[in-house]
C-alpha cells in the first residue's frame, strides 16, 4: 500500500507531459524525480543554474560542483545546460519553464500561495519561490491536506504572508486533486474510499464537487 506522500507523487507525475521543462521545489516535489516516466524528453530546471538535472545513479561518485537548489548532488541529463543565476531567473520570468511543483503552508480558493514565512517562527528568506510562483504558467502545489494538528491548509483566504497571489493551477493532497478556477476550487479527483462530507469537513475552502465526474486516485 502506498503512503500518502507516495500517492501524491504518483498523481503529480501525471501532470508532466513529454517534452516539457519543469521545476521541482525543495522537499516533497524533489522526490518526483523518481516518479517521472523515462524517455519522455523532460528537462528538470533547478534555479541555482541548471536545465537538465537528474538524480545520481546509485554508487556514483558525486561531482562536488553539481547540486540542485535543494543542495542535493545531481548529474546532468542528456541535453542539459548550466548558466548563471540571472539567466536562470530570466528563464523563469519569461515563462520558459512549463510547470513548477511546490510545497505549501497554506493555499486558498483564490489560488493564493503561502509557503515561505511564518512570522515570528520561520523566516529563512524566500529564495526562488516568489518568482517561480508568479511567473511559471502552471503551478502545482503538493502538500498534506491538513497540518500536523489536523487544521485545514486549504483555506478560504491565506493568513500567512503570500508567496504570490492568484498563482496556483492545481493542488494535489492525499485527499483530493483540486483545480483553481475563477469560481473557486473544483475537485477533479478524490482519494479512493473518501466520502464527500469527509473531504468537506477536512477543508476550510468552498469546494465544487460533481460526484458523477470525480475521478479516484
Amino acid at each position: 500500500m502506498l503512503s500518502d506522500q507516495e500517492r501524491i507523487l504518483a498523481r503529480a507525475a501525471r501532470e508532466i507531459l513529454p517534452g516539457q521543462i519543469i521545476n521541482l521545489g525543495i522537499g516533497l516535489p524533489q522526490r518526483l524525480f523518481h516518479y517521472m516516466p523515462e524517455d519522455q524528453h523532460v528537462l528538470v530546471h533547478s534555479e541555482n543554474g541548471i536545465l537538465g538535472c537528474q538524480p545520481l545513479a546509485d554508487n556514483a561518485k558525486p561531482d562536488y560542483e553539481m547540486i540542485d537548489s535543494g543542495g542535493a548532488y545531481i548529474g546532468a541529463s542528456p541535453g542539459a545546460s548550466v548558466f548563471d543565476s540571472a539567466l536562470s531567473f530570466a528563464m523563469i520570468r519569461r515563462s520558459r519553464v512549463d510547470v513548477t511543483f511546490m510545497g505549501a503552508f497554506e493555499v486558498d480558493q483564490q489560488g493564493n500561495l503561502a509557503n515561505w514565512k511564518i512570522p515570528g517562527k520561520f523566516s529563512p528568506g524566500i529564495g526562488g519561490a516568489m518568482e517561480l510562483a508568479q511567473k511559471v504558467d502552471k503551478l502545482v502545489v503538493l502538500c498534506s491536506h491538513n497540518d500536523k494538528r489536523g487544521n485545514p491548509k486549504i483555506l478560504k483566504q491565506c493568513r500567512l504572508p503570500l508567496t504570490a497571489a492568484n498563482c496556483i493551477s492545481l493542488i494535489i493532497t492525499e485527499k483530493a486533486v483540486m483545480e483553481v478556477t475563477d469560481q473557486g476550487l473544483n475537485v477533479i479527483d478524490m482519494a479512493e474510499g473518501l466520502g464527500v462530507d469527509e473531504l468537506r469537513a477536512a477543508t476550510e475552502a468552498e469546494l465544487m464537487i460533481d460526484e458523477s465526474r470525480v475521478g479516484r486516485f
Binding site: N48, I126, M130
Partner: protein, 233 residues
C-alpha cells in the same frame, strides 16, 4: 587600475587589500562556487564589521558561516539562509542585520551593478509584503517596482580554470552568482583551481573576461573539501 601582468598574486596579499567595514560580494550557491580558500584567509586576517552579499549563508562551519560565527559580519544581504541555524539565531537576536530579496531579484540587482545601470523595473512581488519597502512607478500603464542595483567594494569569486590575466571559466552549477559578482565590485579577487598562462584558454570559452578581474590566486582543490556534505535526491 591593475596591470594584466601583475594580477597573479599570493592569496595573503590579495585578501590584505580588504579593510575593516568593507562590503564584499561572495560567489556561490550553497557550497558550489563558494571561494572557500579566500574566505578562510579573510577569517585568518581578522577584518571585521563586514557587509557580505551572498545568495545564502553557507552552513555554520564553512565559508561565510565561519565569519558569521566569529562575529565579523555586521550585515548580510541574501536570498535564503535556511541551512545556517547560527545565522538565523544571530539575526533573531539582532546581532546580524539581514536584508533578504527574492533570489532572481538579488541576482538581477547584482547584474545591474555589473553592467553599469543604477537599477531596473520589475513586477515581481507587487502583491506581496516585499512591495511595501519599494518605490513604484507607472510605465505604459503598468505598475512597476524600482529595484536599485547592488554594488560592493570587493567581490570574492571562485573559478575552475583561469589564466594569469584574470580570464575566468566556471564549471557545473558552481557558476551561479560568480560571473555576476565578478562584474559588480570595485575590486574583484578570483580564486581558481587551475591557473594557466595567457593563450592557454580558448577565447570563446571564457565566461568572465580579464577586464573585470583585479587579482587572481591559485588554490588547491582540496581546500574546498570543507564544503562537502552528503545529500542525494
Amino acid at each position: 587600475m591593475t596591470l594584466l601582468n601583475k594580477k597573479h598574486i599570493a592569496i595573503e596579499e590579495a585578501i590584505a587589500r580588504i579593510p575593516d567595514g568593507a562590503s564584499i560580494m561572495v560567489g556561490g550557491f550553497g557550497s558550489p562556487g563558494t571561494p572557500f580558500a579566500l574566505l578562510d584567509e579573510l577569517l585568518a586576517q581578522g577584518q571585521k564589521g563586514l557587509t557580505l552579499i551572498k545568495n545564502d549563508a553557507n552552513e555554520p562551519d564553512i565559508g561565510i558561516g565561519r565569519l558569521i560565527k566569529a562575529g565579523r559580519v555586521e550585515r548580510l544581504i541574501a536570498s535564503h539562509i535556511g541551512l545556517n541555524r547560527v545565522a538565523i539565531e544571530e539575526m533573531n537576536h539582532g546581532r546580524l542585520a539581514v536584508e533578504m530579496y527574492p533570489q532572481g531579484l538579488l541576482a538581477e540587482k547584482i547584474r545591474c551593478a555589473g553592467v553599469g545601470h543604477p537599477g531596473f523595473l520589475t513586477d515581481i512581488g507587487l502583491d506581496t509584503e516585499i512591495a511595501s519597502r519599494r518605490q513604484e512607478i507607472e510605465l505604459d500603464g503598468r505598475t512597476c517596482a524600482i529595484e536599485p542595483a547592488i554594488h560592493a567594494d570587493f567581490a570574492l569569486v571562485h573559478a575552475d580554470l583561469a589564466d594569469t590575466y584574470g580570464n575566468l571559466t566556471y564549471r557545473g552549477t558552481a557558476i551561479n552568482f560568480n560571473p555576476l559578482m565578478a562584474m559588480a565590485a570595485d575590486t574583484v579577487i578570483a580564486q581558481a583551481f587551475r591557473l594557466e598562462s595567457p593563450g592557454s584558454l580558448k577565447p570563446e570559452y571564457i565566461h568572465t573576461p580579464s577586464a573585470f578581474v583585479n587579482h587572481v590566486v591559485q588554490v588547491d582543490p582540496a581546500t574546498s573539501e570543507q564544503g562537502i556534505r552528503e545529500h542525494a535526491v
